[in-house]
Amino acid sequence: MTTGKETDNTLDCRGSLCPWPLVKTNERIEKMSTGQTLEVLSTDPAAVPDIQAWAKRTGNEFISSTKEEDMWKIYVKKQ
């Protein structure tokens, strides 16, 4: 499950598997204001395509993703 430090704009999903990066991203985005950006940290290879699909279906914006060693940093903007 979600572990580690988190800030208002960062969601740490390292170590958790599908569907949690997606479910937690959705929960967090729902509490944010339009235009705010969320950084999601995940070690699940499915997180990038899953969050892209989620963004497409929910109307939120997938900004980018970068990979650092075994971790992906995913940026989404609330719409």
Binding site: P19, V23, T25, N26, E27, D50, W54, R57, E61, Q79
Partner: protein, 161 residues
């Protein structure tokens, strides 16, 4: 940001029939259901036959993994037939699952909290002598085949597990 980005997307619908009451058959529909709800889909789960065990207060905490008839497990079927193997395989599986996912009752609760609708199959309740009072509180209602079909006719994705 432009206003065009904030387009309203039609609500898509997912309906899943859950007919099995083992760990490996319980997690996939619950994972799909919670994901679909997070994606803004309307989700209906119809629990029938052994799937009803997942809604039974007395059984939901002790959902097992079948060691026989599952060639994916790292043991011959004949070993799976030894008395006690079901609990051994179940606790091995639960230990692995625990690292990544909550338990079945917790998954059921998060699905419900996310707006997933949970339906119990009426004929199964009759067949297996399950009373309404024995069902977990997450159950929305008890329905039959035609109500399920009515939901499935309008579904964008319909699965039988």
């Amino acid at each position: 940001m432009s206003k065009n980005n904030k387009k309203k997307i039609d609500t898509k619908k997912l309906v899943i029939v859950i007919s099995k009451g083992t760990l490996d058959m319980a997690y996939p529909p619950l994972i799909l259901a919670t994901s679909a709800a997070a994606m803004g889909m309307k989700v209906d789960l119809y629990f029938t036959f052994w799937g009803l065990d997942l809604l039974n207060k007395k059984k939901i905490d002790s959902i097992k993994m079948a060691p026989v008839g599952n060639p994916g497990l790292p043991m011959p079927n004949i070993v799976g037939m030894i008395p006690g193997m079901t609990s051994i395989v179940t606790s091995m599986m639960k230990r692995s699952i625990k690292k990544y996912w909550p338990t079945i009752p917790e998954m059921m609760k998060s699905a419900k909290d996310a707006g997933v609708r949970i339906h119990a199959c009426s004929p199964t309740m009759g067949l297996m002598k399950v009373d309404e009072k024995e069902l977990i509180p997450e159950v929305n209602d008890i329905i039959g085949a035609s109500t399920y079909l009515d939901l499935a006719i309008d579904a964008d994705v319909s699965l039988f597990i």
